[in-house]
């Protein structure tokens, strides 16, 4: 019986255990040293968290009291979140909390509604998204979890899986055990919408309607294709398109990605649409992108109208609408070492830079926001996908 053979195999493997070392003393010595440092770090983090909370509260109170020059839309905003910043008003410019985005340091999350969440119970947190149902976060083992606005976190993608969340934050696509599934994210967890079998090494990259834009292995690298998942079952056999080299996000009718021109001379922005038998790729004249490899650093605005691209000491804002009709235009927002852009709305993007946070508008307005020194450099703003559930 296999179980018996397993027992024997395990016993067999550990028959010869290497001699031990004096681990206890090493651990005691090392731990007492790191405890001292941790105490210092905890004090700094507490000061920082207090500053953020205070700043957030002050910013909220400032915005709630009507003043000349403030846009009235601020007061009609989602009551569960801080209002979004305005172009014209200088609202608490030194307060990052006024951006309306949650802040993450390691596994801890400081939310805009004043909560502190520890997401570390399933391993080290690698990325977090604010979605309508709560917070979607992934760990280093490939697992993903949903921390609902109220209640306990639930697993939405098993360890070892590959997953992606829709740009509206309401659905997730997961590949696990060679099965591609799509599910709705609700406050109770996930509700499966469909599942299909896919070839090995398939990974989801974006969600468009009932389809998942997935990537798979071709002879000389990777290719991309749309796979219909909702209300589906059985096998999918995608004809991976190797001309596509990366996916940036979705618009209402298409996904946007990077595709090679003839002879792989240049990588250009392209609209990717489902077609039969394979996807259609509409190239734009916006070219010269770096091959994204595994990490795409560009970020598409919620409506897919603009693309934010960190480029050295500036954040380039590329007008996608214009690019698709053949007249590409670009705005530039200067900030040293700018990285990880996050769109707050269709016209405002924020990004970390060497001295804090820069906020850029698609009309060319720029504002630099300072971050409290105590925050150090190990913090991240949490992207917000879709509007919050009321």
């Amino acid at each position: 019986m296999l179980e018996e053979r397993l027992r024997e195999a395990f016993q067999d493997r550990v028959e010869l255990t290497p001699a031990g070392t004096n681990r206890a003393d090493q651990i005691i010595h090392r731990t007492s040293r790191s405890r001292r440092w941790r105490r210092v770090g905890t004090s700094l983090a507490a000061v920082f968290a207090f500053t953020l909370l205070l700043g957030g509260t002050l910013g909220w109170q400032l915005l709630r009291s009507p003043r000349t020059g403030y846009d009235s839309s601020v007061f009609a905003a989602d009551p569960t979140a801080l209002p979004q910043p305005l172009v014209t008003a200088s609202i608490n410019p030194h307060d990052v909390a006024s951006l309306g985005l949650d802040l993450r340091i390691g596994d801890l999350l400081w939310t805009t509604d004043g909560r502190r969440l520890d997401l570390g119970s399933h391993g080290d947190v690698e990325m977090v998204y604010r979605v309508p149902a709560g917070w979607l976060y992934g760990n280093a083992s490939g697992g993903a979890f949903l921390q609902p606005v109220d209640g306990r976190s639930v697993e939405v993608a098993p360890e070892g899986s590959r997953w992606t969340v829709g740009d509206d934050g309401r659905r997730i696509a997961v590949v696990a055990d060679n099965q591609l599934s799509m599910a709705a994210l609700t406050r109770e967890g996930t509700k499966r919408l469909g599942v299909v079998n896919v070839p090995a090494d398939t990974a989801p990259t974006a969600l468009l309607g009932n389809r998942v834009l997935a990537t798979g292995t071709v002879s000389k690298g990777r290719g991309y294709e749309f796979v219909t998942v909702v209300d589906q079952s059985g096998w999918a056999d995608p004809a991976w398109n190797p001309a596509v080299s990366g996916v940036l996000g979705t618009r209402s009718d298409a996904a946007l990605g990077l595709a090679w021109t003839a002879g792989e001379k240049a990588l250009c922005l392209a609209a990717l649409r489902p077609g039969s038998p394979g996807m259609t790729v509409t190239m734009t004249e916006l070219c010269g992108f770096e091959s994204p490899g595994e990490g795409v650093t560009n970020n598409l605005s919620p409506d897919g109208g603009w693309l934010a691209e960190p480029a050295g000491d500036q954040l380039r804002l590329l007008n996608v609408d214009n690019a698709l009709i053949g007249t590409p235009t670009t705005k530039v927002c200067a900030a040293a070492g700018v990285r990880a852009p996050i769109w707050i709305d269709n016209t405002t993007v924020v990004a970390s830079y060497d001295d804090g946070v820069v906020r850029c508008q698609t009309d060319g307005t720029r504002k630099l926001l300072e971050v409290p020194v105590a925050a150090g450099s190990s913090w991240d703003l949490v992207p917000r996908l879709g509007s919050a559930d009321r």
């Binding site: 053979r5 395990f10 031990g20 005691i28 083992s141 070892g160 021109t261 996807m279 509409t282």
Partner: protein
């Protein structure tokens, strides 16, 4: 004796008594002794940090096992687990049990290729001899998940061992046929089990044409 000194002494005692057993479990979870040593060190550090909270020594053992297993699972993706040199097998005193040894080696090889959580379930169930409920408690999953993970892991192992045996048998048959029979007839390519799709479609290319990479 101060409280701190007492904690340190208790911890030393625990490490001395339980390290070898925990190291063996760590080895089965990770697949090599060096990584197992690292894993054990990390787990013991977490245990030491939580020692005051654990209170009574009786609570430490299950906690230690939980920390060890969960740390190994969360390590799995972060660390490089590519090709490793094969360990030197211990010399066997009895020469007439080579087949059994080879089979156990093959089984161990396939266990190593299982997903981390499935392997952890097998180690806890069939090495530590824990019940499904105890395994579920350690991994913080339901008993049903333990059952399904165990069943899936065993089924994977059966499949892989079966495939290996079939391939071995085919090689033996081929060799025998080559040595004794007439010249071999070229074999037909196997029929694909799934439909083969046409090559990638051509892409409309307003900007001068696109070719597949």
């Amino acid at each position: 004796m101060t409280g701190r000194q007492s904690v340190e002494d208790d911890f030393r005692e625990f490490v001395a008594a339980r390290s070898p057993a925990l190291l063996r479990t760590a080895y089965l979870l990770t697949g090599d002794w060096a990584t197992a040593e690292d894993l054990l060190q990390t787990a013991l550090t977490k245990i030491y940090l939580a020692w005051r909270r654990l209170g009574e020594i009786e609570a430490v053992e299950p906690y230690a096992r939980r920390v060890l297993v969960n740390t190994s699972i969360s390590w799995w993706r972060r660390r490089w687990h590519g090709e490793r040199p094969t360990e030197v097998l211990p010399e066997r005193a009895v020469a007439d049990r080579v087949d059994e040894q080879l089979e156990r080696d093959a089984l161990w090889r396939h266990v190593q290729s299982l997903p981390a959580r499935q392997r952890a379930v097998l180690v806890l169930r069939f090495y530590e001899d824990l019940s499904e409920a105890q395994t579920a408690a350690i991994l913080d999953i339901s008993t049903g998940t333990v059952k399904s993970q165990t069943s899936r892991a065993l089924s994977t192992l059966r499949g892989r061992l079966g495939a290996e045996r079939a391939a071995e048998q085919a090689r033996v048959d081929e060799l025998a046929a080559a040595q004794s029979g007439p010249p071999p007839i070229p074999r037909q390519a196997p029929v694909p089990t799934r439909p083969v799709r046409a090559p990638a479609p051509r892409i409309p290319a307003p900007a001068g044409g696109v070719e597949g990479r």
